[in-house]
Amino acid sequence: MDPAEVEFLAEKETVKIIPNFSLDKVYLIGGDLGPFNPGLPVDVPVWLALNLKQRQKCRIVPPAWMDVDKLEEMRDLERKEDAFMPVPSPHYMELTKLLLNYASDNIPKADEIRTLVKDIWDTRVAKLRLSADSFITQAEAHAKLDNLTLMEINTIRSFFLDSLNCMYKLRSNMQPSGDSKGHFNDY
């Protein structure tokens, strides 16, 4: 899976918008949207919100967690703890990126938020690398991935799996071939 696909999935999340047009309910396969009343907040998927925003048909109301104070708190917690902390949204990174790219004028303190989310992301990815490292050095058989988001898993998956495969190959070449089956199962 590449990041674009993850982003695509993230676009299914809902976000509040304040439309500046009026439209009756829209009946879509994925569910009904609207009705849209000018000036009245309504929940729509991110893809629609961004589309409307780009056509200047709405203002986006940033999600509650997209707030400097809350993110700071989260970042501090994330830095303090060794384990992964729960994130505000399963697609926090993608949503931040999408919303800040297209609707930064509707989000107060957009730059700070961008930095904070990047901080949280960096902290988490660093943790992920660290745990991947210890996973390999200690030759563990399984790992817990609590509170990891799809995007985070996705960043490390291809590299991780490839390298494990590679290591497996190297190991199986070193060892008598009889053992290899058992090892293979480990991974």
Partner: protein
Amino acid sequence: MPCERKPMRYGHSEGHTEVCFDDSGKYIVTSGNDGDVRIWEGLDDDDPRFITVGEKVHSLALKNERLVTAGSSNTVQIHTFPDGEPDGILTRFTTNATHVAFNSSGSKVAAGSSDFLVKVVEVSDSSRQKTLRGHEAPVLSVTFDPKDHFLASASCDGSVVVWDIEEQTQVISWPLLQKTNDVTNATSLCRLAWQPAAAQFLAVPVGTSVHLYERDSWNHVSSLSDDLLTQPVNVVAWSPCGRFLAAGAVGGLMVVWDVSSKACVERQKHEKGFTVCCLAWHTSGRQLAYTDTEGRLGLLDGLATSSTTDSAKPAAAVTKPAAKDYDDLFDDDDDDGALMDEGLSDTRSPVKKTPAAAAAEQDDVDDEDFLMPSTGRIRNRGAILDDENSMDTGSLRLSQDRLLDDRDDGAAGPPAAPPPSAPLRPAYDGPLPTPPQKAFQPGSTPAHLTHRFMMWNSVGIVRSYDDEQDNAIDVEFHDTAVHHAMHLSNSLGHTVADVSQEAVLLACPATDELASKLHCLHFSSWDTNKEWMVDLPKDEDVKALCLGQGWAAVATSALMLRLFSVGGVQKEMFSLPGPVVCMAAHGEQLLIVYHRATGFNGDQALGVQLLRLGNRKRQLINGEPLPLSHKSYLSWLGFTAEGTPCYVDSDGVVRMLNRSLGNTWTPLCNTRDTCKSKSDHYWVVGIHENPQQLRCIPCKGSRYPPTLPRPAVAILPFKLPLCQTTTEKGQMEEQYWRSVLFHNHYNFLLSSGYEIDEDGQTQSQKEQKELLLKMFALSCKMDREFRCVELAEMMTHNVVTLAIRYASRSRRMALAERLNELAMEKASHLQEEEQKQQQEEEEEEPEYSRRRSGFSQSGGRDGGSRHTQEGDGEVVEEEEEEEEEEGEGEREEMNGHEEDAEECVEPRKRANPFAKDPVSPVKPSLTPIAKMGRSNPFKVQGSSSSSQPRMSNILDKMTSNRKSVPLSSSSGKPNKGPVLKPLAPRPKTKTQSTLLQMSGTKTASKKEKSADQQKQAEAPPPTSPADDTENKRPKTGFQLWLEENRKSITDEQPDMDETDVIKEAMGRFRTLSAEERLSWTERAKGQPGDAADLKKRKRAAEGGGAEEKGQAEGDGSSAKKKKAVDPSSKLAAFAFGKN
């Protein structure tokens, strides 16, 4: 004799600003961030001379016609004064200088700089300069010893140093200040001041107090402080006589002390609470100029410090503060209120009590007087009231001041004035009048805010910005389809606004020169002039305004209401019974709320007028009192989107006009119930009845939202404050009455000729029926039969039949019996009404009645008001009744039967001879379909029958009575007319037949419908009266006439086709006199319709076997019908029989 705080004026652009007087005291000289030095001849000087010195001026000093400025280019420059000629550069630093000061003779200038140095330069010879080194951070300020021996400076390194100028050494250094790295970060500018003349004290602002250091000994002799001083002192300045010391603080407080007594002589607050950054005394000592960090210039005039009669002074010093404290207190109160509303009350409110305490110390008797109002609820409320409404000083303050004035007048200026209320209070102990609330625009935030909403309604938002950079108004529309956003400069100072789909209306109060103006941006105008402006007469201010559809209303301070068209034509005007509070408009309606009288004990006495403008002008509510919660005031007024007047009071109670209960006001909900904290409020922006929505903005810790960040609208539900809404019964009652209440607007809209959302109406009617039945079932379960009957009385006729069935099924015979009586009563009542209606109709002209019945058809079908169902509805009911009876015996055949009906629809339509009739294309035949949202026009009948299962399911669920399905299916047809026609079927059918002859035949829609219905059951048997109707119906007066006259028409115009002939005939028939036409219709009545009979047979043949089956059924039913003298009782019996 309090000093006068002159209103502040714009001096320079935002930023550090300095001020000084020239030696003669004639000019005020200021310098600011814009790099200009301005020379004002007085505070009112609108065109000051200016000298451009550089990009910025950090500091300014003036003496002996020399103007020394510390500019942005790291230099200290000299200019001549007042000519402003450059006179060279005095000295340079490596960074900018921060403060410059002259010595007392004006021969030397001291300059402190951000490069840690202090330089002392001879004005006459700039090469002779001394540099004082030793500070470890930028220098904040410098001051000369009047005797020219020492120099004091303060620095960001926290030290205040006294230097010996000659020796260039530090005499003493005190670590007094907070350390910072730069002047801009310093909490205080720490402008030092050396006492003039005597040169005895050096005043140093330290924190919230001012330290006095004695010369030579350099001891800290005393500190001056004040209870109100809660923020750091920025600047101090000695009066020219050296007896008084003025201090200006962060937060805008200015205090003047008498240094010898350490008593506070004067206490003033900056009108906007900005930081005071420079103070300058006039040489006379009577005036004190000050500037703030926002570039504004202010002046305190008439300071008591000029008189130097020492003996009188102490006494005066005591009394004056006392008097002053009153004013201060009130001033503060206003400010507090403002701050409180901005959510800063926590920092300010403790302060509020301190002056009261201070005053109490000074004068024990004052004690109560001060504490009472400052803590009392009324007082606080008053302050809030003020802020929300005021453009000028608060009403409450006025009343308080009046009290004070009374006291002053009465006491005739004794040196120590007695407290005001001590003598007053015994005189009057009754309820106190409430200060009347100020006029306001619903949906606006207080006028004193620099950024505020002037209007937020369902159309758009008007915001105003009034800061130094920009004085502008932004108009933004929720729906950009209305108009794009607008940005206007607010040069006139508009304070009230309204916005509608057609225009933006703005108004400003009168100023000294200009009259109050009304400014309309009529953006929907189709010509090129999109704007108009009207001046109000002199001494008349706009207090409130609103925009309706095509008109604007303006209420003025002269108790006048003026109407304008939206294009600017002046229209009616009338006097208001009292000062306006606010107004709202919707369509043709205008709602005005005004002060009816003086309220007491915190209550407002408001009156309300509701007018209808437009073509049918009339007053709907004339000056009735507006009910408000106790001790609250009006906070929002408006209409629902559907046009029902509503308002919200400051306690958060939303009330709506109940037009069906004699224009009473019903509370809908209390917004405060949903607030989490006591200080949270909801700021209402709109109310919708369908769907039921209260649109408002949640405000945390305040009553209104800030403009930034942009607030988001939330939706609250309504909840009528009925009793015991936790119980099931209470809940249902609440739902029922809410539904009824929110249903009212349909009747209103209908009566005023607007289109209504029919789906919504049927929906809410259905909801009400369901709720009634649920409540009925609940009461049944609880053995409350009396209550059941009461509920049944609220039901419509067909719901009562369901109730009867429910009662009988649950073996409550007595109840069923009673309900039966009730049902009969209702039916007879209905019938009476109908008959009345029909009689009226018969008297009317045939054409009119036709039109009317055409209308009633659509109305009746969609469940319009009761009296609209007549004629065709009648027939349908008749039919349904029969169907029901059929259903009794041959329920299984029901479905097939209905299918037949559907099949027959189409051929019948075609075969219908009147389909070609020029009158029949009158659209109503199709309107019901369109309204029902059906796309297939041939499903007219199908729609009614196919909707049966749906309805029956719902009703069935409610009654949980499976067995009644077939019955309810017929009764649940969407034509809301009663299903049963229990009384005297014969006479009714008679009237009906005449009706049908006269009108029914001509309206195709009606005919189709009734024919379709009738065909099912009673096509052939000639004995049935209904059948007579059927056979006769096609023959009308017009037809007979047409038969006779067709020839003449075709002769005249032989090339006409059939429809044209009929059209022509129609026109001719219309030109006949009423009597003639009547005679034709009489003839038609008397004559059995042969032709129609023929056609009928033809149709029957087309209908095929199904028709025959229908006939057979019809036979059976008609036979039964003869027996059924009272169908309703029969139904009851049937229902009993079911069990």
